[in-house]
């Protein structure tokens, strides 16, 4: 299946692919379920209007009142999805560390650091 690639490299590619698929499914499915449930709650409460902002600060996301109102669920879903690229990079880092592929692990760590730092950089 992997042609000219070494068997070890081929196995790593498959491991990474499966890990990315699993992690993406584990994050995306609940994220979209939260979004759908949040939309349903808002629709039931007839709060489905534009363009008022319904953004909930991260610190108040898990407050029961916010979660039950639908807004918290919508925002939780969006934030889960937004965090998924960083979680995928972290997964790649874990895979590389486990197989002791240090160069790849350092590269993954570098990308992860950039992602983490970008959270604190204002875009103006």
């Amino acid at each position: 299946m992997c042609g000219v690639k070494k068997e070890e490299q081929c196995r790593l590619d498959i491991t990474l692919e499966l890990a990315m698929q699993k992690v993406s499914t584990i994050i995306s499915v609940p994220a979209f379920l939260f979004m759908i449930c949040g939309s349903a709650v808002l629709a039931l409460r007839q709060k489905f209007y534009l363009p008022d902002s319904l953004v909930v600060p991260q610190g108040e996301l898990l407050h029961p009142g916010n979660l039950l109102s639908g807004q918290g669920l919508l925002n939780l879903g969006i934030l889960m999805l937004a965090a998924s690229p960083a979680i995928r990079v972290f997964t790649a880092l874990v895979v590389y560390v486990r197989i002791k592929a240090w160069v790849d692990a350092i590269i993954a760590l570098g990308v992860l650091m950039v992602l983490i730092f970008s959270c604190y950089v204002p875009t103006g």
């Binding site: 299946m1 992997c2 042609g3 000219v4 690639k5 590619d13 498959i14 990474l16 692919e17 499966l18 990315m20 698929q21 992690v23 993406s24 499914t25 994050i27 995306s28 979209f32 979004m35 759908i36 949040g38 939309s39 808002l42 489905f48 209007y49 534009l50 363009p51 902002s53 319904l54 953004v55 991260q58 807004q71 919508l74 925002n75 879903g77 969006i78 934030l79 999805l81 937004a82 965090a83 998924s84 690229p85 960083a86 995928r88 990079v89 790649a92 790849d104 590269i107 993954a108 570098g110 990308v111 950039v114 992602l115 970008s118 959270c119 950089v121 204002p122 875009t123």
Partner: protein, 266 residues
């Protein structure tokens, strides 16, 4: 209710195209949200960023074995892209916007021309050989230095003009680095997700991600991206390549007009 449905349909279209061409879909979402739905540009960009991540996730969820992203390649190039993006954002303060647009258009036209040239060369080299495969597994990545250089240029352009850069990464991986087109699009989708992930929290914190706009759009994008993944293996490389070249030409023309001070979007 009509707006919600229209947003979902727009998302589905952006998701399909984004997944097929490795662009994330932002290049379609921002104009659609600003022109058709009249949302403020910041809300359009914020929604588009979450949409790009949704495409990236949809592709990752649906990718069949041997059809996912080349993760080591993506991470190496992404390091160069993010470094370029930092340089780009620093340079942005010193360069004229029109000059930037024309520079950007030059890179886009060069990429389109080079992709077309490579396709012609492959045709001649292949002769009667079987048709080029979208997801061939036994490829070797070459011209690393050129690839990293172009990735940093794509990153710099991202920082300068606020685009994901997928439309540069795909042709470079395909035409310069020798990565099969299907793998290049999957890898680009992985990469644009990371690039979008780097700025999405800033937009969220600033209140530029409106949940009632974002949720229907990204639901559509996710469904569209998964559909695009299902369709991709049945497409011919030539069709995808032609679509990519066409898209590059459209973006290039838009940027030239912008560089000349002609605003087509009004």
């Amino acid at each position: 209710m009509f707006t919600i449905l229209a947003l979902t349909i727009t998302g589905v279209i952006a998701g399909i195209l984004g997944a097929l061409l490795g662009l994330g879909g932002g290049v379609f979402l921002v104009p659609a949200l600003t022109l058709a739905f009249h949302f403020p540009i910041r809300i359009a960009i914020g929604t588009s960023l979450v949409g790009v991540i949704a495409t990236s996730s949809g592709v990752a969820v649906m990718a069949a074995r041997g059809r996912g992203a080349d993760v080591p390649l993506a991470l190496r190039l992404e390091l160069a892209t993010t470094a370029g993006a930092v340089m780009g954002s620093l340079l942005a303060g010193f360069l004229n916007a029109r000059v930037l647009s024309l520079l950007f258009a030059g890179v886009v036209f060069f990429t389109a021309g080079y992709t077309w040239y490579q396709a012609q060369r492959r045709k001649v080299a292949q002769g009667d050989a079987p048709e080029e495969s979208l997801f061939q597994a036994d490829y070797r990545v070459h011209h690393w230095l050129a690839g990293l250089g172009f990735a940093s240029i794509a990153g710099a352009l991202s920082g300068l003009v606020g685009v994901g850069g997928g439309f540069i990464k795909v042709p470079i991986m395909y035409a310069v680095m020798g990565v099969p087109l299907g793998v290049a699009t999957a890898t680009s989708n992985f990469m644009v997700g990371i690039t979008a992930g780097a700025s999405v929290f800033v937009y969220y914190t600033r209140g530029d991600i409106h949940p009632l706009v974002t949720v229907p759009t990204v639901l559509g994008v996710f469904i569209g991206a998964m559909g695009g993944c299902r369709v991709a293996p049945h497409l011919r490389v030539a069709w995808l390549r032609q679509a990519l070249i066409m898209l590059l030409l459209i973006i290039g023309i838009q940027m030239v007009l912008k560089g000349l001070g002609i605003d087509v979007w009004g």
